[in-house]
């Protein structure tokens, strides 16, 4: 990553200090733009290598197993609980309006549109993203990435592409799992513990949640998965020396992935709502 050197202040005193700060503001902005450009180039090279040469099965399968299969239990568990939590939090409000039978619609709509994909992505960033950054960071520090290059092998092809494909291909399954368990959790709490009639619960859900909502969540997850893989691998590749450097790469991988997931979620949400309105000009459905 290009690092702009901070500009030393030419004169002392308040004016000099202010001038230095303003000048360094520019350096910070340049660093930020250079950083984003760096990740973008990294992403383009990764995509290029997907098509340049097919991946080997014996490299792909273990990556898919670690990313997908091993993440399934934790994603299922968080999905289940978030479904129940939604029921707990919404019940009082809906009951006050006498609309508790509509609980299913709000729980399931929030789940498939937002919470399912975002939770699955957060879990993936925490469980897999930081591990990828730490693993690649250790490889950088112990010169294994240099060794790959010195043997004429491309580290992006060998290390990044399998992880990227794993996240991209498997995050929709994890999202569906989070959705499914959330729906189950919400229903369990609403019907078994709050005693809401299950016919009305499902009838309302069917009325307000359609295939588009579900597909919208799954579609968004593709972007989240790509972002997690690219950000985490990039942090691993640019890891600083020592145990502290590897630790920082792992932490930054999670924090930056998480922020990016939420930013992407906002913009994809706005865009997909417009797409929805384009195909369904009758306007948004009203819950209440």
């Amino acid at each position: 990553m290009a690092t702009a050197a901070p500009v030393p202040s030419a004169s002392t005193g308040l004016t000099g200090w202010l001038a230095g700060q303003v000048a360094n503001l520019g350096a910070g902005a340049i660093d930020l733009v250079a950083g984003i450009g760096d990740v973008a180039i990294f992403a383009l090279r990764t995509v290029g290598w997907i098509f340049a040469r097919p991946q080997r099965r014996d490299v792909l399968i273990p990556n898919f197993y670690r990313i997908g299969v091993m993440s399934l239990p934790v994603v299922a568990l968080t999905g289940l609980f978030i479904g129940m939590v939604l029921a707990v939090q919404s019940y009082a409000q809906f009951k006050a309006l006498g609309l508790e039978t509509r609980l299913g619609s709000v729980i399931n709509l929030s789940l498939v549109r937002e919470l399912g994909p975002v939770l699955a992505a957060t879990m993936l960033a925490g469980r897999v993203g930081s591990a990828m950054a730490a693993e690649l960071g250790t490889m950088r520090v112990t010169e294994q990435i240099d060794a790959l290059e010195s043997m004429g092998a491309n580290p992006i092809y060998y290390l990044v592409v399998p992880r990227f494909l794993g996240c991209l291909i498997l995050i929709p399954s994890l999202t569906v799992m989070a959705d499914f368990m959330g729906v189950l959790g919400g229903y369990f709490y609403s019907h078994v513990l709050l005693g809401i009639d299950h016919h009305h619960y499902w009838a309302n859900s069917r009325e307000y949640v359609d295939v588009f909502d579900f597909l919208m969540g799954v579609f968004k997850s593709l972007f989240f998965g790509s972002a997690i893989a690219l950000v985490s691998c990039h942090h691993g590749f640019h890891c600083e020396h020592g145990a502290e450097g590897v630790g920082r790469a792992a932490t930054n991988a999670f924090v930056h992935s998480f922020v990016l997931i939420l930013v992407l979620d906002l913009f994809l949400g706005i865009w997909l709502n417009n797409v929805h309105d384009f195909f369904r000009p009758e306007g948004p459905r009203r819950l209440l």
Binding site: S9, G16, Q144, A147, S150, A153
Partner: protein
């Protein structure tokens, strides 16, 4: 090198470029300059040892020779072709003619020793699996490792065994230029000499040129036919070249330059005092910066 009309030897030398040419190389990381104006020509069959204290840029020089570090000035040419102007694909192909032995061996943790040694063969050749196994076994034999290590992971091996496995991997594609980064660091004296013996054996292979970066005088005397000594830039007087010595190991031993004598004899001299003064200056500068910011 300057070619003149009257010197046919020079003309023929111009026609066949050296195996590796480092030309006015400069490397800096951010504000820190590590190498300045380094020029080295390596003919096929040479065995060059680059000596120097820690932090003088030896490893950076070695990594520049294979294009792992991008220089900020100058050029590196392999058989007359610039590594800097080469496409990624061509550079990757050219690297099959290099063997790089890393300081910590840099074996892939997730692969067995057999898979590690066979990696370059699988990556660059279409040799059938049975033949790859045979080559791997003979490489492991050559570096004096038992065949039982083939199924083991690198973490199960000692430092000396890992270094030898790293050397076996570097030799897999029959390289023309073998680069060794601190090959004996962290090893006991006997294992260090085993590694020196192996470097000598590799030298005897046809068409092999070696570059060994080390601060081990024993290695330098044993394997080199040419020695270069680098000095840290910040300790040089203005205008002084960074290569403070270039000659044979025997000339190195006869040198009267106090900096070279200090290194060859391994004497601290006034270095502790110098380090303390440098640290005090650095602390003072840092305190000055803080004050200015406040």
């Amino acid at each position: 090198m300057t070619a003149t009309v009257t010197a046919p030897a020079a003309t023929s030398a111009e026609a066949t470029p050296p195996l590796l040419r480092v030309e006015a190389l400069g490397v800096r990381f951010g504000r820190q300059e590590v190498l300045r104006d380094i020029s080295i020509d390596l003919a096929a069959g040479d065995a060059l040892v680059v000596l120097g204290e820690s932090g003088c840029g030896k490893t950076v020089l070695l990594k520049s020779m294979i294009g792992l570090v991008k220089p900020s000035a100058g050029d590196v040419q392999f058989e007359g072709r610039s590594l800097l102007r080469m496409s990624d694909r061509h550079l990757a192909h050219l690297r099959t003619r290099y063997g790089f032995v890393f300081q910590g061996a840099a074996l892939f943790d997730s692969l067995t020793i057999a898979e590690n040694v066979a990696f370059p063969l699988r990556e660059h050749t279409q040799i059938p699996a049975a033949e790859i196994r045979r080559i791997t076994e003979s490489l492991v034999d050559e570096v004096g490792l038992s065949r039982s290590v083939l199924a083991k992971k690198p973490v199960e091996l000692s430092g000396g065994m890992r270094k030898r496995a790293g050397l076996a991997r570097a030799l897999a594609l029959d390289p023309n230029l073998v680069l060794y980064d601190e090959p004996t660091t962290g090893l006991d004296p006997i294992m260090s000499d085993v590694i020196n013996e192996l470097i000598l054996r590799v030298r005897r292979r046809p068409n092999v040129t070696s570059v060994v970066v080390t601060h081990d005088m024993h290695t330098a005397r044993k394997v080199a036919d040419r020695v270069i000594m680098l000095y840290p830039l910040f300790r040089l007087r203005p205008g002084e070249p960074q290569i403070v010595f270039d000659g044979t190991p025997a000339e190195l031993d006869r040198s009267t330059d106090p900096r070279i004598r200090q290194f060859v004899e391994g004497r601290a001299g006034g270095r502790l005092m110098e380090l303390r003064e440098e640290q005090a200056l650095a602390d003072k500068a840092a305190a000055g910066d803080e004050e200015e910011t406040a």
